[in-house]
């Protein structure tokens, strides 16, 4: 069970949250203007990276807020969580492979 730092409530157990998949996929302002290909891209195609992943979480059994997180999908370590509309502080590129361990991060 992950420990997730809700930007509003602090560290909370994963069971209080619902994961909403890849973050920063804005709904097109005019879906009707998109080709089928572009619409399918928006709806279905996901980066699914092995490494740092920006994803959405909802603290559904807590404050109810949606927020974004950057997590390493290899170590499952969270690098950062941030409120909707904010930009992340961490600057690793999305393709970066694993990061420092929790133990190193603590040091």
């Amino acid at each position: 069970m992950l420990l997730i730092a809700c930007p509003y409530c602090g560290n909370r157990p994963e069971t209080e949250f619902r994961c909403g998949g890849q973050a920063h996929i804005a709904r097109p302002t005019d879906p009707g203007a998109l080709s089928d290909e572009q619409w399918a891209q928006h709806l279905f195609v996901r980066s699914n990276p092995r490494g740092v992943h920006a994803e959405r979480w909802n603290h559904v059994h807590g404050c109810g807020r949606w927020f974004n997180a950057r997590r390493d999908t290899v170590s499952d370590r969270f690098i950062e969580t941030y409120k909707m509309g904010e930009t992340p502080k961490s600057q690793d590129s999305n393709s970066t492979l694993s990061t420092s361990t929790q133990a190193e991060a603590r040091a």
């Binding site: 069970m1 509003y8 409530c9 909370r12 157990p13 069971t15 209080e16 059994h61 807590g62 404050c63 109810g64 807020r65």
Partner: protein, 197 residues
């Protein structure tokens, strides 16, 4: 006759069960009586409304047993009060909030309260609640939405030294939550025996 019924005879799902200590371990579980509750939502709330503070930190509760306000999120509060306040409180809040967009919804009948107290109350709650209920992480005056087993609850720790908690859940989950707490009390009692050998 019918008017009288409205005022006095709320049929609470747990009845008006007396306090119980199922494991005789000092954990007292008591369904709360009929209360009024409101879900308040407002952005940029300001300092207070109808005398209720809106500037407390998220996950804190202010007030007393007769009138409390728990901030559950950045723009969300759960307000509890004596039933006698039920009629005028929403309008008083609305008046104070003025033009600010907000929502006050009566959820008095949606929510059911269960009070849990006693030295091992936190141990019993931790049978189903995954939060750190230690004094540092969840001091008196804390309040949050969380889980108890497979039910969502709002957990409030009343101000004051003695461990007193209020568990609020939705009406149809009350039987489950109450039963889980009773089961947990049995388990919690034996914990301390085991620890103390």
């Amino acid at each position: 006759m019918l008017e009288a019924l409205y005022r006095t005879a709320r049929a609470l799902p747990l009845g008006r069960a007396p306090a119980s200590d199922p494991a005789r371990s000092g954990i007292v579980i008591q369904p709360a009586g009929a209360e009024a509750r409101f879900a308040l939502r407002v952005r940029d709330a300001g300092a207070s409304a109808a005398g209720l503070p809106l500037d407390g930190p998220i996950n804190s509760v202010r007030g007393n047993d007769r009138r409390w306000i728990a901030r559950l999120g950045p723009d969300e509060w759960l307000i509890g009060s004596d039933e006698s306040e039920a009629d005028h409180l929403p309008s008083a809040i609305a008046a104070d909030l003025g033009e600010r967009a907000h929502s006050i919804v009566d959820v008095s009948h949606r929510n059911v309260g269960i009070d849990v107290s006693g030295p091992l109350a936190a141990v019993a709650l931790n049978a189903g609640c995954p939060l750190d209920l230690g004094d540092a992480a969840f001091p008196p005056g804390s309040a949050t939405r969380t889980l108890l087993g497979k039910a969502e609850i709002v957990l409030i720790r009343h101000p004051g030294g003695a461990p007193r908690y209020r568990v609020e859940c939705w009406r149809s989950f009350a039987t489950y939550v109450h039963a889980l707490l009773a089961e947990a009390a049995i388990g919690a009692g034996s914990t301390e025996q085991a620890v103390r050998r």
